[in-house]
C-alpha cells in the first residue's frame, strides 16, 4: 500500500504553506481554512468565523505573552524571589469585565447572522432531500421529478477494503455521485430534509448549509447560490458503516439552463389536482 502514498515535493509543501499563510485559498491539498463559499450566508459565516478567530488570536497573544514573560522573568534559576500576594480585586474585576465586553461584541453579529439564516420567506422553489443508508434522494416538490444520488461507481470500487486502486488517480475521490442535485443559480431555494432510516446530515461547505435529516420529521432551510458551478459535500452525521460514502454534489446552473434541464426531466408528466376548498 505504501506505493500509493503520494510523495510530496518539499517545494510544493513550502509554496503551499506560504500561500496558505498569505491567505491564498487556491491550494486545495493544504487548505487550512473554511471556504468563503458561494452564498451570501456562507460569506457572512466566513466573516464571523474570521472575526472570532482574530479575536481569539489577539487574546492568545496577550495571555500567552504574559505566561511566557512569567516563564522567562520569574525563574528560580535566575534567582527570582517569590512575592506573597494572593489576590487583587482590581485585576480580577478587570479580567471578568473585559471578556464580558468582548463576548457581547461577538454575540451581536452572530445573532444577526442567525436571524438572517432563519428567514425562509419568499423562496421560489422547494426541494425535498431524503437521507437513506447510504445515499440521498432528491425530489423537486410539485414538479414530479425525483431521483437517487449514489456514490460514483469508480469511487465505490476504489474505496473497497484493499482494492489496490490509487485514490489519487480519481478526480473527486469520494466526492462524486452518479446523479448530482441540479439547482438554478440566483434563486432562493427552500429545502426540506428528512430521512428514511437513521439520522443523516446534509452538508455543503460552500453553501454553509448543514442540517440533520431525522426520520419521521422534516427540517427546512434555504440557500441561494450566486455562482453557477459544481459544489461538493458529505453526510455529516454518523449513519452506519457507509457514512463516509454518501457524498453530496450540487450542480448549479444558470436559471434558463435549469429550466431546460427540468423540462427534460419531467417528460411531460401531468400533475393532477384533487383538492377542493370547503
Amino acid at each position: 500500500m505504501s506505493t500509493n502514498l503520494r510523495k510530496h515535493d518539499f517545494n510544493t509543501f513550502l509554496t503551499a504553506l506560504v500561500a496558505s499563510l498569505l491567505g491564498n485559498p487556491a491550494q486545495a491539498a493544504w487548505e487550512v481554512n473554511m471556504p468563503v463559499g458561494v452564498t451570501d450566508a456562507s460569506a457572512k459565516i466566513f466573516d464571523l468565523h474570521m472575526l472570532i478567530f482574530w479575536v481569539c488570536v489577539v487574546i492568545a497573544v496577550i495571555v500567552f505573552s504574559a505566561m511566557i514573560y512569567c516563564l522567562v522573568a520569574f525563574r528560580k534559576s535566575k534567582g527570582a524571589v517569590p512575592a506573597t500576594f494572593s489576590h487583587s480585586t482590581t485585576a480580577e474585576i478587570v479580567w471578568t469585565v473585559i471578556p464580558v465586553l468582548i463576548l457581547v461584541a461577538m454575540a451581536v453579529p452572530a445573532a444577526q447572522t442567525l436571524v438572517e439564516i432563519d428567514d425562509t420567506r419568499d423562496t421560489e422553489m422547494t426541494i425535498k432531500i431524503t437521507g437513506y443508508q447510504w445515499k440521498w434522494q432528491y425530489e423537486y416538490v410539485g414538479e414530479d421529478v425525483s431521483f437517487y444520488s449514489n456514490l460514483a461507481a469508480s469511487s465505490n470500487e476504489t474505496r473497497q477494503l484493499r482494492s489496490g486502486i490509487d485514490p489519487f488517480q480519481e478526480d473527486n475521490y469520494l466526492l462524486d455521485v452518479d446523479r448530482p442535485l441540479v439547482v438554478p443559480a440566483d434563486t432562493k431555494i427552500r429545502y426540506l430534509i428528512t430521512s428514511n432510516d437513521v439520522i443523516h446530515a446534509w452538508w455543503v461547505p460552500d453553501f454553509a448549509v448543514k442540517k440533520d435529516a431525522i426520520p419521521g420529521f422534516i427540517n427546512e432551510g434555504w440557500f441561494r447560490v450566486n455562482e453557477p458551478g459544481v459544489y461538493r459535500g458529505q453526510c455529516a452525521e454518523l449513519c452506519g458503516k457507509d457514512h463516509g460514502f454518501m457524498p453530496v454534489v450540487v450542480e448549479v446552473l444558470p436559471r434558463e439552463e435549469f429550466t431546460a434541464w427540468l423540462a427534460g426531466q419531467q417528460g411531460g408528466a401531468a400533475v393532477a389536482s384533487a383538492a377542493t376548498a370547503r
Binding site: 425562509t120 419568499d122 426540506l192 428528512t194 428514511n196 370547503r278
Partner: protein, 177 residues
C-alpha cells in the same frame, strides 16, 4: 460519626434516584420545551384539534405544501393528491393522500405528521386525519385517505409557506401476523 455518614450518603442516594427519575421526566418536559419554544408538540401521536371555524383572513394567503415519505423503504406507494394549496388562515380545507399496499399481504401502517417550519406546528390544526389512527390495507389495496385542516390565523406573519409532511411507517407487529 458513622450515623452522619449514613445520613448524608442516604440523602445523596435519594438525590441520584431522583435524577434517574428526572431522566424520564425529561420526556414530558421535552414536550413542554417544544411548546414553549414554539415548535409545537413533537412527542405523542396527534389527535384531532377542536376547531371552530373562525372568520377567514381574506387578505392573507399561506402556501401549504404536502409531502409524503416512506420509512425503511416500506412497500407502499404513498403520495399527496396535490403538492400544494394556497389557503386562507381560519378556513377549513380538505385534501387527500393516496396510499397503496404493494405487497400481497395485509399491512397496517401509521402515518406520522411533521410540520415545517417547526414554529408553524401549533398553528396547523387538523380536525380529521388519517394519521389519527393506524390504517389497514388488504393485499394490493390502494385508496385515498382524507385530511381536513385549517391554518390558524395566529400563524406568525413571517411564515408564508408551511409544509405538512407525512411519513408512513409499517406497523411491524401487525405485519408479522
Amino acid at each position: 460519626m458513622r450515623d452522619s455518614h449514613r445520613l448524608l450518603a442516604g440523602k445523596l442516594v435519594l438525590f441520584a434516584a431522583g435524577m434517574f427519575g428526572f431522566g424520564f421526566l425529561l420526556v414530558p418536559l421535552y414536550d413542554v420545551f417544544c411548546q414553549v419554544t414554539g415548535i409545537g408538540s413533537r412527542t405523542g401521536l396527534p389527535t384531532a384539534a377542536t376547531v371552530t371555524a373562525e372568520n377567514p383572513v381574506t387578505d392573507r394567503i399561506v402556501t401549504v405544501e404536502f409531502v409524503a415519505n416512506r420509512n425503511q423503504q416500506a412497500p407502499w406507494e404513498f403520495r399527496p393528491a396535490v403538492s400544494s394549496l394556497e389557503v386562507m388562515p381560519g378556513k377549513l380545507y380538505d385534501t387527500t393522500y393516496f396510499a397503496r399496499n404493494l405487497t400481497d399481504r395485509q399491512l397496517v401502517g401509521q402515518a406520522v405528521p411533521s410540520v415545517a417550519p417547526g414554529q408553524a406546528n401549533k398553528y396547523f390544526k387538523k380536525t380529521e386525519c388519517f394519521c389519527f389512527e393506524s390504517q389497514e390495507f388488504a393485499p394490493a389495496e390502494g385508496r385515498d385517505m382524507g385530511l381536513t385542516f385549517m391554518v390558524d390565523p395566529g400563524l406568525p406573519e413571517h411564515i408564508d409557506r408551511v409544509t405538512l409532511s407525512y411519513t408512513f411507517f409499517v406497523n411491524q407487529q401487525v405485519a408479522a401476523n
